[in-house]
């Protein structure tokens, strides 16, 4: 008996981002509200981070709630019926319940049940990683329409006395719908990791150590200067590779949407890339704070609200963070 030849799935040649959705924590937390335990000042925080306020959610709002709101807006704006979404990827490091996944709950809540759904942990590069996956899975025929949502409630993992990262962090979610495209609209992803620098940024203890009374509630920490050097000079190389891989020149970009880690990183990064003045640079961090996997789609959503003329233009997005991990691609803005 001969073995029959299996059919394999095939998909469209190209994909694109159809729409964005955004949700931020309800409260705008000022620097003055945070400076007491770190013996600091509004000016000190502004000078080092560019942050004036960061959005933080109330206790009853979860990262999954923020993800749901952002995903719902993205689906509504896409014009694609929710029941045609057959893939939901959530990029997050702060889902307080490790399982079940955030993505399965979000898929059900937005009317996309029984979409394939899984969470992905690539920290602040999580959104770029998830866009790469959705693009590849659709082109491979494994899905038709995908929701990618970056969602974080980082205020659950901050230490008010920490001077390294806690005061930067905010809560929010940003989502996109990705679907087939007649023309190329998501460029090749340049991504990678460097686990030799795993201690540079991340949680300062495990849940096991917390359970056993050997550590306080785990919170985020970073070696700021080391992260800064890597995020600017190493990531500038990655950004140039993503531009080159897309077959374009920096002057072809309409927007630069880096992970909103710190305004000083964004400013020095843009300087190193020597972007033309015509390129609009996302600076959502000033009033949202650093929201890890959510920051790129949140910043893109805001850019399109404030600069509707960017629609149809090319944007370079690059995420980088704990791992260390990084991911970048050029996309066409919807």
């Amino acid at each position: 008996m001969s073995t029959p030849t299996l059919k394999t799935a095939t998909g469209p040649a190209y994909t694109r981002i159809l729409s964005y959705g955004a949700a931020r924590g309800e409260n705008a937390v000022t620097n003055d509200e945070l400076v007491g335990p770190i013996d600091s000042s509004d000016e000190w925080i502004r000078q080092r981070t560019g942050i004036v306020t960061r959005k933080r959610a109330v206790p009853t709002t979860s990262a999954t709630d923020l993800a749901t709101a952002a995903a719902r807006e993205a689906v509504e704006r896409s014009g694609i019926p929710a029941d045609r979404i057959d893939l939901v990827i959530a990029a997050t490091i702060s889902n307080a319940r490790q399982t079940p996944s955030m993505s399965a709950v979000v898929a059900d809540r937005i009317g996309a049940n029984p979409a394939a759904a899984y969470d992905s942990n690539a920290a602040c590069a999580g959104f770029a990683y998830a866009v790469a996956q959705a693009d590849a899975l659709i082109r491979a025929g494994a899905a038709h329409y995908a929701v990618v949502v970056g969602a974080e409630k980082l205020s659950d993992v901050v230490d008010p006395t920490d001077r390294s990262i806690s005061f930067l962090l905010g809560d929010g979610a940003g989502a996109v719908v990705i679907g087939p495209s007649e023309t190329p609209a998501i460029g090749p992803t340049v991504w990678g990791s460097d686990g030799s620098k795993a201690d540079t940024v991340g949680m300062n203890a495990t849940l096991i150590e917390f359970r056993d009374g050997k550590a306080p509630w785990p919170t985020l920490r970073q070696d700021g200067p080391s992260v800064f050097r890597w995020a600017v000079w190493e990531m500038a190389k990655v950004a140039r590779k993503a531009i080159e891989a897309a077959g374009i020149e920096p002057g072809d970009l309409a927007a630069f949407i880096p992970h909103q880690a710190n305004m000083r990183i964004i400013d020095e990064f843009a300087k190193q890339l020597k972007l033309p003045e015509s390129v609009v640079i996302a600076r959502d961090i000033e009033t949202t704070g650093n929201t890890s996997a959510a920051s790129i789609p949140l910043a893109a959503h805001r850019l399109l609200e404030e600069h509707p003329e960017l629609s149809g233009g090319l944007a370079l997005q690059i995420g980088f963070g704990a791992g260390l991990v990084f991911g970048a691609q050029v996309v066409v803005l919807p």
């Binding site: 080092r48 070696d223 700021g224 200067p225 800064f228 000079w233 710190n262 020095e268």
Partner: protein
């Protein structure tokens, strides 16, 4: 050819001025980067990366923490030039 300590100091002062606006006259060997010149850790790292390029040296992150004064940096650069 390796630069002298005076030449490194002058070059370093230029980098500090470019990053912070501090007058080159204020950059002296005994000055502390943080206490005297009020240079924060992010500006310090920018100066370090620019110094690596300008002087052809490698200054690892762990070493940056040991560079407390301008003199520390000049000594490190002059003794590590290729």
């Amino acid at each position: 050819m390796a630069l002298s300590a005076d030449e490194v100091l002058a070059g370093l002062a230029e980098l500090i001025t470019d990053e912070t606006g501090i007058s080159a006259d204020e950059v002296a060997l005994e000055k502390s980067f943080t206490d005297d010149l009020d240079i924060d850790s992010i500006s310090m790292m920018t100066i370090v990366v620019n110094a690596e390029e300008k002087f052809g040296v490698t200054i690892p992150d762990d070493e940056v923490k040991n560079l407390k004064t301008v003199g520390d940096a000049v000594t490190y650069i002059t003794s590590n030039q290729a």
